[in-house]
């Protein structure tokens, strides 16, 4: 187990360095000069030079990158070119919003997809199975932006005077809402996230229904399931201990990777519902050529994905001895 862990951590460090180098290089290949953009209208070359020096952009690229890595080792992600805010602060204030969306969404899609997938596998070609597959088709085909707009129009706007309605958009802090905030607390937090969670989970839920359905159907035909039944095990015991345990192994793996993928998908949901999360922030930074913020989010997301994958790998190694031996 220990060599496996060391190997995975070394790969994680290499992946992390590669990601930051590529992000850094892409930024310098783009013909945008943050100093000129920050300088404003009609800057003289002397003005641009002064701003460049102020932003530390007058150094060679490799030196800027080295300085960045040194700062990173000290836990400093730098300062935004645009509003000069600490990137640590920006990440610290936006990451909880994205985490709320992603983890809440993940719980929703698992709660929906596992029962639906199992039901479809146990009742193939039934009405319920066909309804499930229709949902799968819809979830994979419909874009989150469209889903979000439709949901908020119906449940937020059209039904606003009915008992069953949701906020059209917006976010509430679960803990210590800021001064002047019109809402706050865990209940309002969850209430404001119902539609974002629903929007966010549709695609993943659709994919997971298919995954669970296929795995369960395949596992049901395995010899050990037949053996378990032949030995007289009850159907529920067969399902839970033999079928589900084996069918959900790939789900655990995919979930680790999808949480990382979901960080990217969060951009759409955050934009539609005005959630001040990482996705929304990185989109703004991209439009403003704000390298420190882009890098900060990339670093954060990379670390998050690496950690999730590491945890999944370790879990998988614990669950399945064949992985350890490999």
């Amino acid at each position: 187990m220990f060599p496996f862990l060391v190997r995975r951590i070394l790969w994680a460090i290499a992946l992390f360095l590669a990601t930051t180098v590529i992000t850094y290089l892409i930024f310098f290949i783009i013909p945008a000069d943050p100093a000129a953009l920050a300088c404003g209208k009609a800057c003289t070359p002397a003005d641009v030079a002064r701003v460049k020096h102020s932003l530390g952009l007058d150094l060679p690229v490799y030196q800027q990158y080295w300085n960045y890595l040194v700062r990173l080792l000290h836990g400093n992600l730098g300062t935004s070119f645009v509003n000069r805010q600490s990137v640590n602060h920006i990440i610290g204030s936006t990451a909880p919003v994205t985490a709320s969306l992603v983890f809440g969404g993940a719980i929703f899609w698992l709660l929906l997809s596992i029962p639906l997938g199992v039901y479809s596998a146990l009742h193939p070609r039934s009405v319920g199975d066909r309804a499930g597959m229709t949902f799968v088709l819809f979830g994979i085909s419909a874009h989150p932006v469209w889903i979000g707009l439709i949901l908020s129009y119906i449940f937020g706007y059209v039904l606003r005077n009915f008992v069953i309605h949701t906020p059209i958009a917006g976010y509430c802090e679960a803990i210590s809402p800021p001064f002047g905030s019109s809402c706050g607390g865990p209940v309002q937090w969850a209430y404001h996230l119902i539609l974002p969670w629903t929007t966010f989970m549709v695609l993943f839920a659709a994919l997971y229904v298919r995954l669970v359905r296929a795995n369960v159907m395949e596992t049901l035909t395995e010899d050990f399931v037949r053996t378990a039944r032949a030995k007289g095990a009850g159907e529920s015991r067969v399902m839970v201990q033999h079928v589900l345990r084996n069918s959900l192994l790939p789900v655990v793996t995919i979930l680790g990777m999808d949480i990382g993928l979901a960080l990217g998908g969060a951009i759409f949901t955050e934009s539609i519902f005005g959630l001040p999360g990482l996705g929304r922030r990185v989109l703004t930074a991209y439009n403003q050529n704000d390298l420190p913020v882009i890098l900060g989010v990339v670093v954060f997301a990379t670390v998050a994905v690496i950690i999730f994958n590491l945890v999944v790998d370790m879990l998988y190694a614990v669950i399945d001895p064949r992985i350890r031996l490999a």
């Binding site: 209208k41 003289t44 645009v82 000069r84 917006g170 001064f179 929304r280």
Partner: protein, 549 residues
């Protein structure tokens, strides 16, 4: 000698006239579209779709959104009143008791700060507050955009040495009690307008230099910033020590950042949000206009200080030829290009200055109602040949404008080549001398209400450098440069007249731009908003004047 004597007299006369006007402005308070007395109280909820404040520090903020917010918290020496239309563009002395006294040589301005003004923490506002604002704007420890954008360090005596870190104070600046004296390097008729910019609002004299800017700071205007959660929300509350005449109608103003414009439209309709500072989605304009009417209730359209145009690259053929440029003036379809912005979003134009700016006279020189291809061909003659590179950004409106322009140019006899440059690097690319383009879509919004900021800034060919240009036509003409210098030294009515003539002359004789639209801003408010007051200068409503009580 005569010139030295005339300038201060003219300025003093204008000052007196503006003072009289301001007296009326002051006593009448805020009057919105309906003229009724505004209700006080409540919380004004403003969404900032796809946008956020860059800074709340007056020394660093440089975007219209931040400025429109700071307008509610700042007291400037001179300011624009909360009035709709042309009246809203007339300066009046706010933090000063009167317009400044100007020395005979036009180089020394003395302001007297109005006694009794207080910051939101109860401390008095003195001349030192304005001195500190100027110091913070120029200090190398701040990295403020002021120095680099309007080159203010070159305006005030000792500014350049201070910016270079050679001196600890600005030699041309002194504050004594309520007296603020500003000595200039040379006479500058735009100084009073410059002082109305939000960079120059009173700030506590002990406010530190800080490259990241101060976030919440005491301010002397009708409101102060209570909290700012970057990327999320900003909350303003009334300044309890403000005793001036400016309106402070809502109890508090809450700005929510980075919202979605489609969702905000629904929120405004549902009364959950009062207004979107970015306006409704352009595709909604027509339906909203039909439902609510224009400038009657809830749906408002107002002019800005922005002009949209196509820059003709005069540094190479075909548009180095005046005949080709004039042909473009007749051959481009201004109404069609304006329509790409959405309904009500712009007013057709064929000149540089926009309504409201001193010197604006509504000329109709060229094809304002649509392309006149026959006339364009006749004027252009043999100059209308070859391939024209049409440059534009990737926004839907810009792509559509580029397509219409290419179509018009083909009608005139040119071949065309499309050049799309991403919006984030568009102006930097366009500002690089020697770039491969012939005609490029561009726009200009004035930093301050003076024709200098349209004419001289955009057409003084001596300012053309290798990169970061704003003279996108790359036009350099010694005669025109001299005429612009002359106009810049004038004041009052003579200045307006000179710039009106320059506007006409540039478009008639040199035609380096094809202006096509003076930009409007469109807003949709919730049903509870009353007392609508819109500032053309900021392109935003005067938030402190809106009533939701």
């Amino acid at each position: 000698m005569r010139k030295k004597f005339v300038l201060p007299v003219v300025l003093a006369t204008i000052g007196a006239l503006l003072l009289v006007a301001s007296a009326f402005a002051g006593v009448s308070g805020s009057t919105g579209t309906n003229g009724a007395v505004a209700k006080k109280g409540g919380t004004l909820k403003v969404n900032l779709s796809n946008n956020d404040f860059e800074f709340t520090d007056p020394g660093l903020a440089y975007d219209t959104l931040s400025w429109s917010m700071l307008y509610t918290t700042n007291i400037n020496l001179v300011n624009y009143p909360e009035k709709n239309g042309q009246e809203g563009g007339q300066l009046y002395p706010e933090g000063a008791t009167a317009f400044p006294l100007v020395s005979k040589d036009g180089k020394t301005y003395t302001f007297t700060v109005r006694p009794g003004l207080k910051f939101s923490d109860g401390t008095a506002v003195t001349a030192a507050a304005y001195k500190r604002a100027i110091e913070r704007n120029i200090s190398p420890q701040m990295g403020s955009p002021v120095g680099v954008n309007i080159q203010f360090q070159k305006v005030v005596a000792g500014g350049e040495d201070f910016l270079a870190g050679k001196t600890q104070s600005i030699s041309g600046l002194s504050a004594n009690g309520q007296k603020l004296t500003i000595k200039l390097v040379k006479p500058n008729a735009t100084l009073v307008s410059i002082m109305a910019m939000q960079w120059f609002g009173a700030i506590k004299p002990n406010t530190p230099y800080n490259k990241g800017g101060v976030v919440t700071h005491p301010s002397a205007g009708p409101y102060y910033i209570k909290s700012w959660d970057v990327g999320k929300s900003l909350v303003e509350v009334r300044n309890p020590y403000y005793k001036g005449t400016r309106p402070a109608n809502p109890d508090q103003i809450v700005f929510t950042a980075n919202t979605d414009s489609d969702q905000t439209l629904l929120q405004v309709k549902a009364g959950q949000v009062d207004v979107d500072a970015a306006g409704p989605p352009p595709t909604a304009n027509a339906a909203l206009g039909a439902q609510y009417g224009i400038n009657k209730k809830q749906f408002y359209v107002g002019p800005t200080t922005c002009i949209l145009y196509f820059a003709l690259n005069t540094s190479r053929a075909p548009f180095s030829n005046i005949a080709a440029r004039k042909a473009a003036e007749w051959g481009l379809d201004r109404p069609a290009i304006t329509r790409t912005l959405g309904k009500y979003a712009g007013k057709r134009s064929d000149q540089i200055l926009v309504p409201g700016v001193p010197g604006f006279v509504d000329y109709h020189l060229y094809a304002i109602k649509g392309a006149d291809v026959a006339k364009a061909k006749k004027i252009g003659g043999s100059a209308l040949k070859g391939t024209v590179t049409v440059m534009h950004s990737g926004s839907p409106a810009s792509i559509a404008a580029g397509q219409i322009t290419a179509y018009n140019l083909k009608q005139m006899g040119f071949d065309t080549k499309d050049k799309l440059v991403p919006g984030s690097i568009y102006y930097k690319t366009l500002g690089t001398k020697g770039l491969d383009f012939d005609i490029a879509r561009a726009g200009w919004c004035a930093d301050y209400y003076d024709p200098f900021d349209f004419i001289n800034v955009n057409f003084d060919g001596r300012s053309i450098q290798d990169a970061n240009n704003v003279n996108f036509a790359y036009y350099n003409n010694a005669t025109l440069n001299a005429a612009m210098d002359k106009a810049a030294n004038l004041a009052g009515a003579a200045r307006s007249k000179a710039y009106a003539a320059l506007d006409l002359s540039i478009m008639k004789n040199y035609a380096p731009w094809v202006p096509y639209s003076s930009l409007n801003d469109v807003f949709f408010t919730s049903a509870r908003v009353s007392n609508w007051v819109y500032s053309s200068y900021f392109g935003e409503p005067d938030f402190n004047a809106l009533a939701v009580g």
